[in-house]
């Protein structure tokens, strides 16, 4: 794991319905419905299920995401990722085996 002590971890069996806002990073191993907006890195772990709009400088997806991701810097979709929604970022990486259905907008801010 890349997170520091200050980071937020949503464990596997936790369900959050609502809005998560913060200036640090977050690791989602559980479920989040609503919105995640962070100033740090967002990690959706393999067990993570997110039905939300995601906004962060950097987003890593290894789990399931239904919703739009807006990243200033980078979106990385791992091989276990299942992503349904639009992705907007300066750089987008999609690993072999990842599932992605949606629009991509890359490059400019």
């Amino acid at each position: 794991m890349h997170h520091t002590e200050n980071d937020t971890i949503i464990a596997e069996h936790i369900v959050i319905e609502g809005e998560i806002v913060g200036s640090a990073g977050i690791v989602v191993e559980g479920r989040v419905k609503g919105k995640i907006a962070m100033a740090g890195r967002i990690d959706i772990a393999e067990s993570g299920q997110v039905d939300a709009t995601i906004e962060a400088p950097e987003v890593h997806v290894a789990g399931q995401v239904t919703g739009n991701i807006i990243a200033v810097d980078r979106i990385q979709m791992e091989s276990t990722c299942r992503m349904i929604g639009n992705a907007k970022a300066k750089r987008i990486l999609i690993a072999d085996g990842a599932y992605f259905a949606g629009n991509v907008e890359m490059g400019s801010n």
Binding site: I9, H13, V15, I16, E17, G22, I26, A39
Partner: protein
């Protein structure tokens, strides 16, 4: 519990909404507004601020909590803890320095969650109460029939005796030789 089971809400994080979990623990260093319902322990750390009703098996408050608490096992409010809301729990610990405003309910409503030590307490209390009651009852029982019925009986007896005596006195047509012993008999009864 392992780290994977523990959810941590970081210091800079604000969550607006509901948090639901099974047997998971929850550590809150940031802010949560909404409702929390988990099967494990909810810990609000010193700088954590929670504005939510919490339902968990154990709740530890070192930060600020505005909302009602319902815990099946234990609630602890640390020395830096501030709680505004009602508390319903089996066991409650309030450390010196803590501030609490609200209603506390420690009634034995959730019998299913009673832990072994509290069970023992209940048994010893019951046993001592029944022993006290048993010891007190015979004393009360011996006092009651002695004091109360005796005056009632004497009152009831006196009137018919007097009436009978008066009737007898009328019937015997005031024979001086006969009247004297009856007066004596009435006098004895009154004294007795």
């Amino acid at each position: 519990m392992s780290d994977a089971q523990t959810t941590v809400i970081g210091a800079s994080i604000i969550i607006t909404g509901n948090i639901v979990g099974e047997d998971d623990d929850l550590i809150i260093r940031g802010r949560v507004e909404g409702a929390i319902q988990v099967g494990g322990t909810v810990t609000i750390e010193e700088h954590g601020i929670v504005k939510a009703d919490i339902d968990a098996s154990e709740i530890v408050v070192h930060g600020i909590l505005v909302g009602n608490i319902e815990s099946a096992e234990r609630v602890e409010i640390g020395s830096t803890g501030r709680v505004v809301g009602n508390i319903k729990t089996e066991r409650l610990v309030i450390q010196p320095g803590a501030r609490v405003r609200g209603e506390i309910d420690m009634s034995d409503a959730k019998v299913a969650h009673v832990s072994i030590p509290s069970h023992k307490k209940v048994e010893t209390l019951d046993a001592s109460t029944t022993a006290l009651a048993r010891a007190a009852l015979p004393r009360l029982g011996s006092r009651l029939p002695e004091r109360r019925p005796t005056p009632v009986e004497t009152v009831v007896k006196r009137t018919p005796v007097n009436i009978k005596d008066a009737a007898k006195a009328k019937a015997t047509a005031a024979a001086a030789a006969v009247a004297e012993p009856t007066k004596k008999a009435v006098g004895r009864r009154r004294r007795g």
